[in-house]
Amino acid sequence: MRITIFAQRWQPLEPLLEAYAGRGFDVQRITGDMPDAESLQWAANESDALLIVGSRKRSPRTALPGPVARRSDGSLIPAAWLPDAGADALRRFSQTAARLHQRDAVNQPFAVLSQRHPQYLRLAGRIETLLHKQHKPVYRWTSDIVFRDDMARGLRAGLAAAVYVGHGRPIGWVGYYGTRIHHLQDIPGEPLGALLSLCCRTASRRRTPLSFSEAVPLSGVAGAAFGAVGPTLHLNNTRWAVAICSALQDGVRSIGELIVKALPPNLDAISDYRLMGDPLSPLFGTEAALTEAGKIAVYA
């Protein structure tokens, strides 16, 4: 496994680089500003995953054209973006991501989150059913049955990933009477492997210096985040939801593998979204995840 990382400074990223080395991953470091299209293509051809850590003046929309890069032979690899929001934020991300790489590949518990609206509760229910059929531990923490604070604590139980469906904004989710990054960070516990927001705009910079989906890995909530850079269609979010469940059935082990396997066939569904954080973030839970997640109060 080879990952190419573009960054202007490396010291804050050391914990993650050590974790990669510990797993036997080959890391190709390229120091400098944002790569141009030619450099990106060359790196894609040489790698199994890409991570660009660039100036926070760039937004997810302009930093990368989508959550994947296409090699010259037509194969796809995950491509992730992370804004350099300062050494402390980068170090927090790096330590979080490194911690996730220490997890044993034992269980894959997931959480399904949703705004309290029939359309989204229905989709959340379908995701829950599809994951149940795969005998995966799945926790339904939709906003009709769980309070925001409990949901936020649940996301620190050490789960593999969580998926949110509903309305989204650049600063967070509309669900749970509004969810912002400050509701999720600074809660003791374990990070998620990935937090996926199948909704509009959580990776958009419109009227915010940092989008919700960028803040998720930078604040240590998850190793990676997946979100849209603009408005999305419910059909496209449904496409992603079905495809993600299907890819999980195939036994994917990281967020990058999940996104590549789950890519919908239509271009707009792909180009609406971006991957933030560690493209190789493992999708596994901690040993205690099931016990901790079971403690979350659900008012069903």
Partner: protein
């Protein structure tokens, strides 16, 4: 889900479509045929159709455009559409 191949026959396509509907917990009547309408005969609403379209795309690895998917309101129309797309 089964990754379809371009050599699928029409009965095989229909069988895979029925598998997807069963996976969605839709009750399939014995009388099902090409004229069976997803909405009126099987009770699938627009959100269910959205999931079915997504499943068809995954299973057959074809893109169903937003203009096309509203026309796929019977089993026969869906099977014809998939057959034509796989033949391209």
């Amino acid at each position: 889900m089964i990754q379809a191949q371009t050599t699928l026959t029409r009965p095989q396509i229909t069988a895979l479509l029925l598998d997807e509907l069963r996976d969605m917990d839709v009750t399939i009547p014995d009388s099902i045929n090409d004229d069976t309408a997803f909405k009126d005969d099987l009770g699938i609403d627009s959100l269910g159709i959205a999931e079915f379209v997504a499943r068809m795309e995954q299973t057959f690895r074809v893109e169903i455009s937003d203009d096309d998917w509203h026309t796929l309101y019977t089993l026969g129309r869906a099977a014809d559409y998939i057959e034509s797309r796989l033949g391209q």
